[in-house]
């Protein structure tokens, strides 16, 4: 089990962190998706190809590396289809048809993955997908379809014919969703849907993003507690603030440990992955929201204002917590895996 980053992983982290600090500072995230940033992220850092095998143009790294990258994009509240494309890359590596991978690895194609089953007649797809992550920004949609041969994954060009999509305003101001209606949209089968592995990896990937969100929120409020004065003292010197921050730190330490473990399991220990993945969502999703909430509250009134960034973290944390379904599903999964 490997819970600490290797020197290479630390380098990756620094590279992504440094890039995002310059290219996508917090002051910019309300402007939404910037395709140029996304292109540079993939071009200069090759992030979109991180977990894509080298033969398809990726760097063949593992979930551990993807987790490092997602932690940073999470901490930066990066807008746009980076997470959804990573989700899709996870799925696309597990189906026979790998064509999509090359486009993603090259940074040409943004994608999104949805779990809503669509109808597929071998050439086109029909169906309504009520909440597609980054559905307005993604070029391609991958979704499961029930066919005579069982469940297959199909791929649809979202800018193509037979596709209607409309933006959905959501709580999260930094990343949108879309309603997508497929009405005979040309579709291509990527092969049978794997029996397992996708959902678990999505749990891990999302937990990595959540780890970044909570870390950045904690860092921000700790910094504020060192400069904000009330009643003649820095607020961080009051135990009412300090003890809460200490508890938040404990959650962060545990969350990071779980994310490292789950990413390691995805790469190295498939038998442990289902339990690790459910644990990651059950713990990290909750911890991320709690830390984001408490960080907002500790700002006092200013944290309640629209101008302040605190609510961006709070809202992303809540949106992430329910992104893969009501959080209880992860607990129920754990109960099953523990044979309780």
């Amino acid at each position: 089990m490997k819970l600490v980053l290797s020197p290479e992983q630390r380098e990756l982290r620094e590279a992504v962190r440094g890039f995002l600090r310059d290219a996508s500072p917090l002051s910019k995230v309300r402007q939404g998706y910037d395709p140029q940033v996304y292109a540079r992220l993939n071009g200069e850092l090759g992030l979109s190809g991180l977990i894509i095998p080298e033969e398809y143009g990726g760097s063949g790294a593992g979930m551990a590396e993807l987790a490092v990258a997602l932690e940073e994009t999470g901490a930066a509240l990066l807008p746009g289809p980076f997470l959804s494309t990573a989700f899709t890359a996870v799925a696309a590596t597990l189906v026979p048809d790998k064509e999509l991978l090359t486009g993603i690895a090259e940074g040409r194609v943004t994608a999104t993955l949805d779990e809503t089953e669509v109808l597929f007649d071998g050439a086109s797809a029909r169906g309504t997908l009520p909440q597609v992550l980054s559905g307005m920004e993604a070029d391609v949609l991958v979704a499961p379809a029930r066919t005579g041969d069982g469940l297959v994954m199909v791929c649809v060009e979202l800018a193509g014919p037979g596709v209607g999509r409309g933006p959905l305003e959501t709580l999260d101001l930094t990343r949108g969703q879309a309603k997508v209606v497929l009405d005979g949209a040309p579709a291509r089968a990527l092969g049978p849907a794997p029996e397992s592995g996708i959902g678990d990896r999505l749990c891990v990937a999302l937990a990595a993003e959540q780890l970044g969100v909570m870390r950045a929120a904690l860092d921000a409020i700790v910094a504020y507690a060192k400069i904000r004065v009330a009643f003649g003292r820095y607020i961080g010197s009051y135990q009412g603030v300090k003890h809460k921050l200490a508890d938040m730190h404990g959650k962060l330490e545990q969350a990071e440990s779980i994310v490292r473990y789950a990413a390691w399991a995805a790469d190295e220990s498939p038998g442990e992955l289902p339990g690790a993945a459910a644990l990651a969502q059950a713990y990290v999703g909750r911890a991320c929201f709690e830390v984001a909430r408490d960080h907002l509250l500790l700002y006092g009134g200013v944290g309640y204002t629209w101008e302040h960034d605190a609510h961006l973290f709070y809202k992303r944390a809540k949106a992430d917590e329910v992104l893969l379904g009501p959080p209880r599903i992860h607990r129920a999964r754990l109960a099953d895996l523990l044979e309780l």
Partner: protein, 388 residues
Amino acid sequence: MNLVEYRRAARAWLQENAPSDDHPETDAIARAKDFMARLHDAGYSGITWPRRWGGQGLTEAEERAFAAEARDHSLPTYVFSIGLGMTGPTILDRGTDAQRERFLRPLLRGEEIWCQLFSEPGAGSDVAALQTRAVRDGDHWVVNGQKVWTSVAHHADWGLLLARTDVEVPKHKGLTMFVVDMHHPGVTVRPLKDMSGRANFNEVFFDDVTIPDEHRVGEVNDGWSVAVTTLLHERLSISSGVGMGGQKDNPAALEALRTMVDTSDPYVRDQLVELHIRSRALALFNQRLAQETEAGVFPGARGSAAKLLLAELTLFQADLATQLVGPEAVLADHPLSRVIATAPGMALGGGTNEIMRNIVGDRVLGLPPEPRMDKNVPFKDLKVGTQA
């Protein structure tokens, strides 16, 4: 007229006169003012205030009786709430007779709207650290500075302003209270959006705003003791309203939530039980405080415990509801989206949870106070606001 008759008459009047719209929108202001005038004509505005200043000279018993009846209606009194609950009582307690004469009757009749100007960006919980300056110039004062969290400032005719008049003395000792004309050219009101995107309060900027000395409330440099009067009234008016309803229309309350989620799931069911337990516990505590008040035992700082618990319940149930409903809950047109986006408000407005815990600890439990670093330092040497 005995209390039963009084209440019956109030009920009848309200049934006849209470409108349904209470949104403080622009064109609603005129209607609200019209309603207040009728309320005053009917004898229900300023029930306990002295007759001499436009009140009814009755007792708290009548006021409670009217309030109990009013709970069944949505009265358009929102824009007057600061005046009625805070600034008016302050003028009544601490103003001169000339000020009472000038300000109270128009306030009670809804002819003039008031706001309260204490908090500043650098002085939130620690109100007395405020930096807005008022400098004397003959028989006037000249004010420069910035206030924040000011409800209804964009509608207000008058503001109760706390400003610093001496920086050479410790922070509580160099403050003075004024009534400021909100229509003065140097006053700029800028709406301030809350985290849900709604403009619920304002920033107010003062740029060489002059105030005649006869609009000073209380002595020069005695403004803190006047502010304490105002804040006491604020706390009373908040704590009396706490937990009294509000759940009826809350989409995160049990009754609404049970229709949105799958109650055949035992986990969901138990979470709803938890919500029921917490909601009932606080509702019963509030009812007990109300019964004590009716019996003449004033809750005092215990109201801060109720406010703290309401803040926590508000956060808990918004969080729980969105978890149970899942992905849909974050769609902007889902009712819970707004609930989760405003849930922190109760924990931040009217004193943070930390301040509430200090109040409960100090005043209810009688615990020793935190040592104060800021009591005996001249204000100009004191660290305030946000700085390294």
